[in-house]
Amino acid sequence: MSFVEYSDFIQDGDVATVYMGHESMIAVKVQQGAQTQTRYGVLRHSTDLIGQRYGSKVTCSKGRWVYVLHPTPELWTVTLPHRTQILYTTDIATITMMLELKPGSFVCESGTGSGSLAHAILRTIAPTGHLHTVEFHQQRAEKVAEEFKEHRVDHLVTVRNQDVCKDGFGVTGVADAVFLDIPSPWEAVRHAKAAMKKQGGRVCSFSPCIEQVQKTCEALSDQGFEELSTIEVLLRVHDVRTVYLSLPDFGPDSPAQAQPDAAVKTPPSHAPIALKTTTLPRDIPGHTGYLTFATKPRT
């Protein structure tokens, strides 16, 4: 297993996703002899996981079963330990396309945060690209570097523990794309420019507040970036369900039927009709952040 390559069987040292139900998954570091407590009971790694095929159904000690899935950046995003606010798949997918990431891309990112986006970037730029990711919080930088190693993507990424607004990305003229998710992205715009290839590239800044967007757009314009475009993408998850709708009883149709003897005690025989439909959850994500994209022209 690696986050950039599928395997068929679970091996010692893998990070597997245990699927207990929709929105109920955990990531498990597979270790010979270890065991994991789930709410469906204990999973014994040596017997229940190692050597099993990814996608298998595994019965836990309580007799309930779970599926063990091969990790993907998307499963990691919903199971990773939150050390910061994270980016979710809907934004990540948009960022990946709009930054034109593909195998071989060189990317700079700050902050690394919990590594949600970084894993998705690495998946996309492997096997020949590279990610330079900057995180100014030391503890977090160390932790995420460790995870990259466990996920066997460390050869594709350099983690730097520094302040991107002060010190930049630590590389110059190499990036095809730069991503910013920091409180003051406008302070890092010149560093983004410096990190990018002279032939140009794409930049993206993620900010929750419109004031941040305004300042960042100004900085991007000032630094000569072009094709500025700010968007917002929201996900709606539809629940598929069958609902039952009653039919109204307008009473007997013809005068004949309206005779007392016909009406007495005849309960309305209007059975509800079934309707296959979808509903939205009562509350859905209303905002994650604004995504501002721009193109760095040749310089």
Binding site: Q85, P183, C209, S246, P248, T279, I284, G286
Partner: protein, 471 residues
């Protein structure tokens, strides 16, 4: 300026008033009754003290559930200004979350700190708070507010407030009709004073009450009701002056066909119809979705029970006597009912209603096709459904049937914003779906020359562009 005192009398809370309690975004409709314990947001209190106070006053809940008017300056909450997300990268997660102990909090309380101040203390002493997503912060604050805040504002009810209350607390009871969707309905149906409007709803009376509010006591509203009796709890919560009820009529839909056929006899009482109705009342109850029948007692108490039927009689010896009295009472009631039915039937018979509003858990298509017959030509109608599919059916049927134009199947998308210096953004959670509306206008049935190829009763031109080839 001299009549200020007089003016204010209209703004004072009286015993028996229907009012709305408010804390933050949470509303609850209650009636002002002396010595009656009221539960709100996990707290209990008495409303005795609010009588004579002005509406929109904020009260502090003090010991023993007594309400005391809060001093004016002490306005609601500034915990909003908390600064999430933008500058939280510096926090070291040292594993210790809340630095205040329970004892600390009790001490704060004893020092007389207000709920809101305690929450501020909790936030300041929480190392993880700033690390939380803004959404999680909101949740945290809401939870803490529930626990420590102890103020309540008393409002005069209105369509706006009740629609928001129901949507927030008991969306299942109002078929998940969102307040902005209700707003569209009232406007699309051109509800206004002096008109004659048909309402068919199973939204606890909220839609009916909203229509009545917009008519201001002028004109007539006919509630077309299914089952055993009209549901009106929501209407009571509006606290309308009594003359508003003069414009309200009711008609059981089980007589619709008879009325249309001209066979409905409203001169003599019809015992079969009554028994049938109570039958259906029982059935009605059963049909209520489970989620609605459950709900905490607190939530249930929000609605005053309408109708006074079905009382228990514990004392065996008085049974006989009471039965007689009851029979008599029933007779009077039935006579009243008959009169009401006759009045409503008279209004309907002329088939010249000015508007039709449907919002129910019934399949809307047969409801609509049945009730549309009562409208004059050139009058608006609007149908709500939580499910787009059932309005597609209505649309298709109306196109086949003719007699309507200007059909539109719509929904609205509602977004709330946080507007704060340097922290302006859409609110992080939004309502998933507000439901769908089908609106249109009736036109005169076409008796002249049956149009050859087309049945939809709408001029061609535009329509032909949107044929089904694309996609």
């Amino acid at each position: 300026m001299a009549d200020n005192v007089d003016d204010d009398s209209l703004y004072r809370i009286k015993e028996g008033d229907y009012v709305v309690l408010k804390r933050g975004d949470i509303f609850k409709a209650v009636q002002i009754q002396q010595k009656k314990k009221v539960a709100f947001e996990k707290q209990w209190f008495f409303l005795d003290n609010v009588v004579g106070q002005l509406y929109s006053t904020t009260f502090e809940i003090v010991s023993g559930g007594i309400l005391q008017p809060r001093k004016p300056k002490d306005t609601e909450s500034s915990t909003d200004a908390k600064g999430a997300g933008t500058d939280n990268r510096n926090i070291v997660d040292d594993g210790k979350s809340q630095k205040l102990t329970r004892d600390d909090i009790e001490t704060l309380k004893e020092q007389g700190l207000k709920g809101q101040e305690i929450i501020q203390q909790l936030i300041e002493n929480s190392s993880t708070f700033k690390n939380k997503t803004e959404y999680a912060q909101d949740k945290y604050i809401k939870k803490k507010k529930k626990k420590y805040e102890n103020t309540v504002m008393i409002l005069k009810p209105s369509c706006r407030i009740l629609a928001m209350m129901y949507h927030g607390r008991e969306p299942g009871k109002i078929c998940h009709l969102r307040y902005d969707t209700l707003a569209q309905m009232l406007t699309l149906a051109n509800i206004h004073a002096g008109s004659k409007v048909l309402v068919f709803e199973t939204c606890a009376g909220l839609v009916l009450g909203s229509v009545m509010e917009r008519m201001g006591g002028y004109g007539s509203v006919i509630q077309m009701y299914p089952g055993g009796g009209p549901v009106r709890a929501g209407v009571e919560s509006f606290g309308f002056p009594s003359h508003f009820h003069d414009m309200l009529h009711e008609f059981p839909i089980c007589h619709v066909n008879a009325l249309l056929a001209g066979t409905l006899d409203t001169t003599a009482k019809d015992p079969s119809a009554d028994s049938k109705q109570s039958n259906m009342a029982a059935k009605e109850e059963q049909n209520q979705p489970e989620a609605e029948r459950q709900g905490s007692p607190e939530e249930q108490s929000m609605e005053t029970n309408s109708g006074a039927d079905g009382s228990h009689d514990p004392k065996k010896e008085e049974e006989e006597k009471r039965r007689e009295a009851k029979a008599e009472e029933r007779k009077v009631k039935q006579e009243e009912k008959r009169k009401k039915l006759a009045a409503a039937a008279a209004l309907l018979e002329s088939r010249n209603a000015d508007g039709l509003v449907i919002a129910s858990r019934f399949n809307p298509c047969p409801v609509l096709m049945g009730l549309l017959k009562f409208l004059s030509p050139s009058r608006p109608f609007v149908v709500y459904s939580q499910y787009k599919e059932s309005l597609i059916e209505c649309y298709t049927k109306l196109k086949e049937h003719g007699g309507t134009v200007n059909l539109k199947l719509t929904d609205t998308w509602l977004r709330h914003y946080q507007v704060l210096p340097n922290r302006t953004h859409p609110v992080l959670l939004m309502s998933g779906g507000g439901g769908y509306l089908l609106s249109g206008t009736t036109v005169a049935a076409d008796h002249s020359k049956p149009s050859s190829s087309r049945q939809d009763g709408e001029p061609a031109e535009k329509r032909q562009k949107v044929t089904d080839t694309e996609g």
